[in-house]
C-alpha cells in the first residue's frame, strides 16, 4: 500500500500506536498494528468482523494491556494500566454496550463517578446542559435515562466522556443503534468536537457513513494495518471495501422476485403488552407468503421488539391470533413453533440467542442436539463436527471451539447465530436486526442466505432499522410506528423519503422502554 499520507512530525500526532500486538488464547487479535491520528480530525477505523478494531481501541482506552507495542500521545510515550489512566491522559471510549443507570437522570449519569461528594442537582444539571448545548447534543439533563431512545442514550455516553475532558474520543460502532437522521446529527456533533480541538476515532461497517463523516481512515485486516491514514476526500468506498476484504465485494443487487405461494405466516389483529404493562402494539394484521421477504421498518422502540417476541413465542399476546403453516400457533410454545418450521434470529444475541457461559460448540448445537444423541448422550464428535461445519460455512472467526462463546467478536457471534438458525432450513424465518454490526461481506453473506431461504419457498419477516437494507432486500415493506402498522410500501417503487416520513408519523417518536 502506498496510500500513506505525507509524513507528519511525530509530536503533531494526537495518537500514535505502533507495532501493537495482542493475543487471546487461540487468536491473534492484533499483530503489529499501526495507527496515527492527527488532532482536529475524525479518523475512521475500518475492518472486517474480527479484524481487531475493538481490541485495539480497548488497548488505547486502557481496558486491555498490549502484549507488545508503543503508545504515544503528542509524541510522549504512555503505558496505561486501567481506563482511569487513559482517561486522565485524555482518552475516552464509548463502548457499544452502554453502561448507564436507567433510574438516574441524564445529568446524574453524566457526572457519575466524577462528581463532588455532595451533588448539587440544579448546578450540575445547568453545567451538563451548557456542555450539551455547546456541542449540539440535544438532551434534557433532568430526564430519567429509561425514558430515552437508544440515540439519546448515546449522546449521554458522549457527554460522559466530554465531561471528563477527553481530548481523544473513541466511538465503537456508534451508529448501529441510530436512525439515519440520528446518524447525520451525530456527524455534525463530531465535526463540532473536532473543530473544538479534539480528535475522534470512529468505528463503523457502513462505508457511506464513513465517507460522509470522517477525514481519514485506517484499515485493518486480520490484525494488521493494510492502509493507514487514507485521505477520505480522495478515496472512494469501493476502494475502502477492497482494502478491507482483499477483494471488492459485489454490490447488492435487487433480487428478482420469486413466485409467491400460499401464506405461511399470518397475524390477525394481534396485540401484546410491553415490559411496563402498556400495550406495545395492537391490532396488527398481515400475511407473508411462501417466497416473500417482508420488511418491518421503524424507529427502534415502536413495538418491533415485542412483535418479534410474540411471533417467536417468548411473549404472550393479549388479543388476536397467529397462524403458521396453517396451524394456529397463538399459544404454542417456542419449541412447537420451531418444530413447525420457525427459525428465529433474535435481536439480543447474547441474552436470548446464545448462552454466554457455554462453549462455542455447545451454542452451535442448540437447535440440533436432540438429533445428536446416542441413548442419553450427546455424541461429542458429532457436536464438534457440526460446529466446525457451521463455523466454516458461515465464516465465523473463532479460536478454540471448546472455549467460551463470549470471546467471539460481535460480528462473529452474529454469524454463528444466523448460521445455526438457517441451517435447519426453516419455512418461516423471523430475523430481527440480522446484519447489525456486520462488515460488508458479512452483511452480503447474511442477506444472500435470507434470499436463498426465500427462493427456496420460505416466508421471511425481517425487522431492521437499516432502511437501505430493507429497500434493497424486501418484496414488501411495512412501517411500524407507535405500535401499529402505518403503511405498506412496494420497495421497488417507493423512495426512501416516503418511508422515512411514515416512520415518523408522529413527529416525536415514542421512546424505547
Amino acid at each position: 500500500m502506498t496510500q500513506t499520507s505525507s509524513p507528519t512530525d511525530e509530536s503533531q500526532l494526537a495518537v500514535q500506536l505502533s507495532e501493537v500486538w495482542k493475543t487471546f488464547p487461540g487468536v491473534v487479535a492484533n499483530a503489529g498494528v499501526e495507527l496515527s491520528v492527527r488532532p482536529r480530525t475524525i479518523h475512521a477505523l475500518l475492518g472486517e468482523n474480527g479484524a481487531g478494531k475493538s481490541t485495539l481501541m480497548n488497548i488505547l482506552a486502557g481496558v486491555y494491556r498490549p502484549d507488545r507495542g508503543e503508545l504515544k500521545l503528542h509524541g510522549r510515550a504512555h503505558q496505561f494500566r486501567n481506563p482511569a489512566d487513559a482517561l486522565s491522559a485524555g482518552i475516552g471510549m464509548v463502548h457499544q454496550e452502554f453502561r448507564l443507570i436507567p433510574s438516574f437522570s441524564v445529568a446524574e449519569n453524566v457526572v457519575l463517578g466524577s462528581a463532588p461528594s455532595v451533588i448539587k442537582t440544579r448546578q450540575i444539571e445547568a453545567e451538563v446542559a451548557a456542555m450539551a448545548d455547546k456541542f449540539g447534543l440535544r438532551v434534557d439533563p433532568a430526564q430519567p435515562l429509561w425514558q430515552l431512545s437508544m440515540g439519546e442514550r448515546q449522546k449521554v455516553e458522549i457527554l460522559k466522556v466530554l465531561w471528563r475532558d477527553a481530548q481523544v474520543l473513541i466511538l465503537d460502532e456508534p451508529t448501529t443503534v441510530l436512525t439515519p437522521g440520528e446518524v447525520d446529527e451525530l456527524g455534525e456533533i463530531l465535526r463540532r468536537m473536532a473543530d473544538d480541538g479534539r480528535c475522534i476515532i470512529f468505528i463503523s461497517h457502513k462505508l457511506h457513513e464513513v465517507s460522509e463523516i470522517c477525514d481519514e481512515a485506517t484499515v485493518l485486516r486480520q490484525g494488521k494495518t493494510v492502509a493507514s491514514s487514507l485521505d477520505m476526500a480522495t478515496t472512494d468506498s469501493t476502494e475502502l471495501a477492497r482494502l478491507m476484504v482483499g477483494a471488492s465485494p459485489t454490490s447488492p443487487n435487487r433480487p428478482a422476485a420469486a413466485t409467491l405461494g400460499v401464506p405461511l405466516l399470518e397475524l390477525k389483529e394481534l396485540s401484546a403488552r410491553g415490559d411496563r404493562g402498556i400495550d406495545a402494539f395492537s391490532d396488527i394484521s398481515f400475511q407473508i407468503h411462501s417466497g416473500e421477504i417482508v420488511g418491518i421498518a421503524g424507529v427502534a422502540g415502536n413495538g418491533q421488539r415485542e412483535l418479534a417476541d410474540v411471533i417467536a413465542g417468548l411473549r404472550p399476546s393479549t388479543r388476536g391470533s397467529l397462524i403458521m403453516n396453517d396451524a394456529d400457533m397463538t399459544t404454542a410454545s417456542p419449541r412447537q413453533r420451531f418444530l413447525s418450521g420457525l427459525g428465529y434470529i433474535p435481536e439480543d444475541r447474547l441474552g436470548v440467542g446464545l448462552a454466554p457461559r457455554l462453549s462455542i460448540t455447545d451454542n452451535a448445537i442448540l437447535r440440533v442436539y436432540r438429533q445428536q444423541r446416542r441413548g442419553p448422550f450427546i455424541v461429542a464428535a458429532k457436536a464438534l463436527s457440526y460446529c466446525k461445519d457451521i463455523v466454516e460455512r458461515f465464516r465465523v472467526r473463532a479460536g478454540d471451539l471448546g472455549g467460551p462463546i463470549a470471546a467471539l467478536s460481535g460480528g462473529n457471534l452474529q454469524r454463528l447465530l444466523v448460521g445455526r438458525e438457517l441451517d435447519s432450513q426453516p419455512s418461516v424465518v423471523l430475523a430481527a436486526q440480522p446484519t447489525r454490526g456486520l462488515d460488508v461481506q458479512g452483511v452480503k453473506a447474511i442477506q444472500d442466505l435470507l434470499l436463498e431461504r426465500r427462493n427456496a419457498g420460505a416466508a421471511v419477516l425481517m425487522i431492521s432499522e437499516d432502511l437501505d437494507e430493507l429497500l434493497t432486500l424486501t418484496d414488501r415493506l411495512l412501517v411500524m410506528e407507535g405500535g401499529t402498522i402505518r403503511g405498506e410500501f412496494n420497495p421497488r417503487t417507493t423512495s426512501r423519503q416516503e418511508v422515512g416520513l411514515a416512520m415518523l408519523a408522529d413527529t416525536k417518536a415514542v421512546s424505547r422502554p
Binding site: 481496558v63 486491555y64 417468548l314 417456542p334 419449541r335 418444530l339 441474552g351 455447545d362 442448540l366
Partner: protein, 361 residues
C-alpha cells in the same frame, strides 16, 4: 480505583492446582499454629494427632471415608441444583426424609434377605428425599416461589417428623421408655470394604460419577447447563424450564435422601434425631467449594471429611470445640480456596486485565 480485583486467567497456571493447594495448606497451617499457640496448645502435637486420626493408616482412612460419603452425596445434591442456578438448602431435611423412608422399609422387611432389603431401603431413601423436594419443586416451577425458603422450611418439618416417630409410633418398647427407634436388623447393615469403611463409598462414588457424566455429556445435562447459563436462551430453544426445575430439584432431593439411607445402613444403628448430623448444611459448603460442579464434589468431600475427623479428634486433647472448628475452617478454605483462586490473577492497583471482565462487541 486502586482496589485489588480478581480476573480469570487466560490459561490455567501450569501445575497451578497442586501448587496452590500446597501453598494454601501451608498458609492455613501457619495461621492455625498462631491460633493454637494463642490458645496455649502445642501445635506439633495437635497437628500430628489430626493427621493420625484422619489419614494415618487404614482405620483412620476408613473413618474419614465414611464421613466423606454423606458429605459428598449432600454436596452433589446441592451442586446438581446449583448447576441450574437453583439453591437446595433443604438437603438436611431430605437426608432425614431418606432415613425415615429407609427405616420404614427395614421395619416391614425385617425378614427379607440382606441384599434385597438394603437395595429396597436405599431406593426408598431416594424416594423419601425426592418426595420432600416435590413441594418446593412444584412451587418454584409452576408459581415461581423461591426454593431457598421452601426447602429451608421443610428441614424443620423433617426434624419434627423424626422426633414424633421416635417418641411415638416407632418407639422401641424394649428401650425402657427411652425415646429410641429400634435397632436395625443385622442384615440391613451395609457390608464393609476394609476396616470400618462400608460399601457406601462405592455407592457415593458411582452416583457422583454418573451425575458428573450426565451433566457434562448427556442431552439432559446440556439442557441443564443452558438453563443455568441463561433462562431466556433456554426458553428460546424450547427447553421446558418448569419441567427442568421440577426434575432437577426432585433429583437433588433424592440424592440427599440417598445420603440419609446410606448413613442409616452404613454407620447408624437406628433412626435418630441426629442422623443428618449437619451433613445437609455442610453439603452447601462442599458444593460451593466445588464451584457447583458435580465432578469437583468428590475431592472436596474427602478433604472436608478428613478435616472434620481430624478436628474432632483433637478435642480429646483438650482443644475446645470452637478452636477446633476454626482450625477446620482454616484448613478447608486454605486448601480449597487456593485451588479456586489459582484460576484467577489478582490485579493490584487496577492493572489492566488480560481477559475483559465484561464482553463488548
Amino acid at each position: 480505583m486502586k482496589r485489588p480485583r480478581l480476573n480469570l486467567r487466560e490459561a490455567p497456571l501450569p501445575g497451578g492446582q497442586p501448587l496452590a493447594f500446597a501453598i494454601g495448606l501451608t498458609i492455613a497451617l501457619f495461621v492455625g499454629t498462631l491460633l493454637l499457640l494463642g490458645a496455649g496448645h502445642d501445635p506439633v502435637r495437635i497437628y500430628s494427632r489430626m493427621f493420625e486420626a484422619s489419614l494415618g493408616g487404614p482405620d483412620a482412612w476408613a473413618v474419614t471415608l465414611n464421613r466423606a460419603v454423606p458429605l459428598g452425596l449432600a454436596g452433589l445434591a446441592v451442586a446438581i441444583a446449583g448447576s441450574m442456578g437453583l439453591w437446595n438448602i433443604g438437603a438436611e431435611g431430605q437426608i432425614m426424609a431418606g432415613a425415615i423412608a429407609a427405616s420404614w422399609v427395614a421395619r416391614i422387611g425385617g425378614d427379607w434377605p440382606g441384599l434385597v432389603l438394603i437395595v429396597v431401603m436405599l431406593l426408598a431413601a431416594l424416594g423419601g428425599g425426592g418426595l420432600l423436594a416435590v413441594g418446593p419443586a412444584i412451587a418454584r416451577a409452576r408459581l415461581g416461589v423461591n426454593e431457598i425458603i421452601t426447602t429451608l422450611m421443610l428441614n424443620e418439618v423433617a426434624i419434627r417428623l423424626v422426633q414424633w416417630l421416635i417418641h411415638g409410633p416407632w418407639k422401641d418398647p424394649g428401650a425402657h421408655n427411652f425415646p429410641l427407634a429400634p435397632m436395625l436388623p443385622d442384615q440391613a447393615r451395609l457390608p464393609t470394604l476394609f476396616s470400618r469403611a462400608h460399601y457406601g463409598l462405592l455407592i457415593a462414588a458411582a452416583v457422583i460419577l454418573i451425575s458428573s457424566l450426565a451433566v457434562r455429556y448427556t442431552a439432559w445435562g446440556y439442557e441443564l447447563r443452558i438453563a443455568g447459563s441463561s433462562e431466556a436462551t433456554a426458553r428460546y430453544s424450547g427447553i421446558s424450564l418448569s419441567r427442568k426445575i421440577l426434575t432437577v430439584l426432585v433429583i437433588s432431593g433424592g440424592i440427599a435422601g440417598l445420603a440419609g439411607g446410606v448413613e442409616l445402613t452404613g454407620t447408624a444403628d437406628r433412626l435418630t434425631e441426629s442422623i443428618s448430623n449437619g451433613f445437609g448444611f455442610a453439603g452447601i459448603i462442599v458444593a460451593a467449594l466445588a464451584l457447583m460442579r458435580p465432578s469437583g464434589v468428590a475431592v472436596v468431600a474427602l478433604l472436608f471429611g478428613a478435616v472434620q475427623i481430624g478436628g474432632q479428634s483433637i478435642q480429646t486433647l483438650g482443644v475446645s470445640s470452637s478452636v477446633s472448628t476454626i482450625l477446620q475452617a482454616f484448613v478447608l478454605f486454605g486448601a480449597i480456596g487456593a485451588g479456586v483462586f489459582s484460576r484467577y490473577r489478582i490485579l493490584l492497583e487496577g492493572e489492566a486485565p488480560a481477559v475483559p471482565e465484561k464482553v463488548n462487541q
